[in-house]
Symmetry: C2
């Protein structure tokens, strides 16, 4: 949304700054900005802006939540089961499937069209944010149009019954707000450009605000302000300092509590209080006895089970990533290069298959179980309301339909809190179907998060383990929910390979600090076992996009390399001031696109140690940009 964005419309451009030291030097050579930064006034404005980012992120989510609720409640057949279950005859069944298909495909077409017009809005957006914070600008990633496409698109892709989550897009939205709002301008609306408030246009300031925005996104999505900051720290930031931690935390808090304030006010009509922490709520893990003394959700022996679950979760996650990698490669070859309509058609195909599979699985493979047997042990009534009868006799419900025909958040709550409600076969089949459908879906041209589908898939796996353990006689019904939670963490950890931030996010969204140790253990084991096979899904997608991401650690062996080992011979280099024509000639005659910058001193050419310039060779419109050398 600033000048650099305009200049840089090629595949991607890298900030001409090294980590750490380069960052500081960059600051020093922009004396005007630095001077302004040191004044108290700008510091105060920064805080106010940070608050506004948080507040806006929270608000975006509130609107989203409200819109989505009304949309689903009014039009969507899932939440209106009477339409289906009333007609138990054969002909009518086909009709209901067709209606369902019509709705879902319609929604998905809208989502897909939005993404086709604004391709960066596809997927979860977390890889893009990770690249941005690493110093690589992917074009259009921070535009207002992207925000709109993403926000509206995710609404429709979730409503369209796809197995996608809304958390990734939420985080991307937060980051866009962070990128755009402090600029007080927008490329889409050129008139909104209040020059005199144009602080914060240095790369450093922009990065800082984007980190805060991403943190606020996580915070609002999960009600996890601390987790948001740690997410930003773990996933995103190559550039970090202490003040930024604190400002991100402030931003996350602002987002969490603005959302909380308005949601609580609207839902309970009791303004001024804070009941509803985030968009996702996993419910309260309670003990059977009320006092809480002598209560245990897990014990020391369970830890060993958890470790094995983590191992297996890592393997599942690695499998998910491998399958998705192969699919994405195939998609890049056969779908992305062809006409835009093909991309929409693929989304339609996925939506149709997803709907048909869940519809028929619920019908053919579901098991009718009695409600009465479970009503006794004081399960939480809210969850019980959402079981689906679906062709079962009265007082019975279909367990497969309960999982497939609820919103994913509701299904997760079912798996976490309902005791003994699902048969082993149902859980296993659900896991398998969901696994492959979710894997197919991630990468389709719709806005699609990964968190909630992974959690649901993992919860089914965890619940499967719990059910086996109960049948073996090891565990009791009381803590099946804990196993489901651990399974969810293991699978999600195996897919995305996040560690500390995911632990904290899950602790905060379950509001149960005592889950700290098991969650940490299982996520660590899942990461290790997954890393044995491949990389995390975000990293895989970053690599597929061809973004030169700088890792935290150098690869084995590279610490011995010298500059001359990777440089071409004879060396081509640029001066600080170069003609465009000579740069273009150089790009045409060399295969690479990174050149050292040379300055003349004492009649000798000196290569300035830390600074290399990255030029872009793949520009369609042949306008070549030389980023300012800071």
């Amino acid at each position: 949304m600033s000048e650099e964005d305009i200049q840089c419309d090629c595949s991607c451009c890298v900030w001409p700054q090294c980590r750490g030291v380069g960052d500081d030097r960059g600051g020093q050579s922009e004396p005007a900005t630095e001077e302004m930064n040191s004044t108290t006034k700008v510091e105060i404005i920064k805080w106010v802006v940070t608050f506004m980012i948080g507040f806006l992120t929270g608000m975006r989510k509130k609107n989203y939540k409200l819109k989505k609720t009304s949309l689903i409640n009014d039009y969507h057949p899932y939440t209106n089961p009477s339409a289906i279950s009333m007609c138990s005859k054969d002909g009518c069944l086909v009709l209901s499937l067709l209606i369902l298909l019509l709705f879902n495909v319609g929604f998905v077409v809208i989502a897909s069209c939005l993404v086709v017009t604004e391709p960066v809005a596809g997927g979860s957006g977390i890889p893009e944010i990770k690249c941005y914070l690493n110093g690589v600008k992917i074009p259009r990633v921070g535009r207002l149009m992207t925000l709109v496409s993403k926000a509206v698109g995710v609404l429709f892709s979730v409503a369209g019954g796809l197995f996608v989550g809304k958390e990734g897009p939420m985080i991307h939205s937060g980051a866009i707000i962070g990128a755009g709002f402090p600029q007080f301008q927008s490329i889409a609306f050129k008139k909104i450009n209040i020059k005199k408030y144009g602080f914060f246009r240095s790369d450093r300031d922009k990065r800082d605000f984007v980190s805060s925005g991403a943190a606020a996104g996580v915070a609002a999505a999960f009600g996890a302000p601390i987790g948001g900051v740690l997410f930003s720290l773990e996933e995103g930031c190559s550039f970090w300092n202490q003040k930024l931690t604190w400002r991100s935390f402030f931003c996350s808090m602002a987002a969490t509590y603005s959302l909380n304030f308005f949601l609580s006010g609207i839902n309970t009509a009791n303004w001024g209080y804070f009941y509803l922490p985030g968009l996702i709520n996993f419910g309260v893990f309670k003990c059977a006895n009320e006092s809480g003394i002598g209560c245990h959700l897990w014990n020391a022996l369970d830890l060993i089970v958890f470790i094995f679950m983590g191992l297996l979760g890592g393997v599942f996650g690695a499998l998910f990533n491998t399958v998705n990698l192969l699919l994405t490669k195939h998609r890049m070859k056969h779908v992305q290069k062809k006409h835009k309509a093909i991309r929409v058609l693929e989304a339609v195909l996925v939506a149709a298959v997803t709907t048909t599979v869940s519809f028929s699985a619920a019908m053919l493979l579901g098991e009718c179980r009695s409600m009465a047997s479970n009503q006794s042990n004081g399960s939480i009534p809210l969850v019980d309301e959402s079981v689906r009868t679906y062709f079962c006799p009265e007082n019975h419900y279909n367990d497969m339909a309960t999982l497939f025909f609820n919103s994913q958040e509701e299904a997760i709550k079912q798996l976490f809190h309902q005791e003994g409600k699902f048969s082993l076969a149902t859980l296993g089949l659900f896991f398998l179907l969901f696994f492959f459908l979710a894997c197919w879906t991630y990468g389709v041209h719709v806005p699609s998060g990964l968190f909630v589908p992974s959690l649901l898939c993992g919860a089914a796996y965890g619940r499967f383990v719990a059910t086996v353990l109960v049948q073996v006689g090891y565990a009791n019904h009381e803590n099946s929910g804990t196993f489901a939670l651990i399974g969810a963490a293991a699978f999600l950890g195996g897919v995305v390979r996040m560690t500390i931030s995911l632990t904290v996010i899950l602790i905060e969204s379950t509001n149960e600090i005592s889950y700290g140790l098991p969650l940490m253990l299982v996520l660590m084991v899942a990461k290790w076992s997954g890393d044995y096979f491949n990389e995390g899904l975000y990293d895989i997608h970053i690599k597929l996009k061809g973004v030169p991401l700088l890792e935290w650690e150098v690869h084995h062996g590279t610490e011995r390399l010298k500059a001359c080992d990777v440089m071409d011979k004879p060396e081509s280099y640029v001066y600080i001031v170069s003609r465009v024509s000579s740069v273009i000639r150089m790009l045409r005659t060399t295969a690479h696109n990174a050149f050292p910058v040379v300055s003349v001193a004492d009649g000798r050419n000196l290569i300035k140690g830390e600074f290399a310039i990255f030029l872009l060779s793949k520009c369609g419109n042949s306008s070549v940009t030389i980023p300012k050398i800071n």
Copy 2:
């Protein structure tokens, strides 16, 4: 505990590395270590060692807790109130005061003697750890003897009735374990030196383990693993990377849950479960109604009150720091330079005054209040047990004695959870007395933490505000505890100026995530208002010690300075290989003690950019060390 420690017995020495880049270069020039680090074997050992640090830190604390409990229960008159309250006659009263004095002074003498023999063990240890992690080694700070002196000393200084906490020393202990254990050797026990396990002797590894140890110390003290990591990140680490975050988190978790496991096992005789999170436990903040729906511990309007409380808390904290700064300066002039016995005598004086003041304040200024009036509203029985009758008629208790004659943790719980139990006059007087006594105590030659006294002092202030608000009609009794907590946070924040880590520590130790926003707000306001007047107490003490700490942000104006502005003319410099005699001559002829290192290339002297050498001029034994240039 390694070679550098031996060499460097002067006032302090600085690692010859710059931040960031210097750190990496340091790594590159130690190829042997780097190669080892890259092997999986060493990585595994690192994790195991990290776990052991956490475990040992947890264990240290468990032993401590058990020892302290038995010590106080058996010998200490405070917890044996019958001894005092039985003799209500005048002569007997003097006798009990004398007995009390005898015990307290005796305990404090032991603590003080330990510190006099090992001066680094005095104080909270957090400034020392902060310096260490910043790259400045204070001699003996990581020795086994320091650990012993500190751990035993804090036991006696707390038992001696001084207004000191045990958290700072705990954190220091954790850091020492982190520094010492991975070395598999000790200077004190020269025989324990298993050469073949001598990995991790590079500065980087040592720093990493010390950070983890400090994090584990916080984690075990407060039951706050996330807070521990953030503490380490916020207060300590100038050198930080992503992997370290995760390893610190693992270490903190290991410490928290080892402590939890053993404490729970011993106290409830029910092994394998986890009930008791940390050494400090602030109790559960509960709503009056059991369901939790419609429950609010605070609302949006309260936030405005909290902000004002934060402002005032910052002012109180700044006052505390100023008074302590003046006292410490006075102490450095008149106590530290004289004979060791003077230091012990000062500690004795403080102990005697503290005991006398609390004894007489309870007797003369306390108010007898009826127990019956408060019994009805379902307050938590555990807290009620610890009120002190102390010369009051039956079914009455003395509110001042309840605050002074309980352990500080118990008094904090009283202020947090007992409704309407303390008169305004008592709270105000207690705050004033405690404020000045605690301020006097911090800096006396005993191991003394600052967290719990500050929390108690602030809780009294918060409770005072709550009582005023209840009398004015704004608040109700239900959330007086919230105000006490906010007051505690405001005061502690005003003193130490920690922000994100303190917020998270307090959230974790209250186990109430919904306090996030008010705690963050109040700590932020307290920091800002305090920073208007002076620096945080730890920074003040670091400055008084004359340690060259590198701040996160450069001071205003310094970014324009060039090297020639701070260098002497004519320049004195050292070569990489220098004679000791020439270095000593240079130190004698110049007033400063930092010199550029010069290497000879092409017959010209080149100053290597990042590396400067720091030599020490104040060595008693005149052995001068040149740190290795990495």
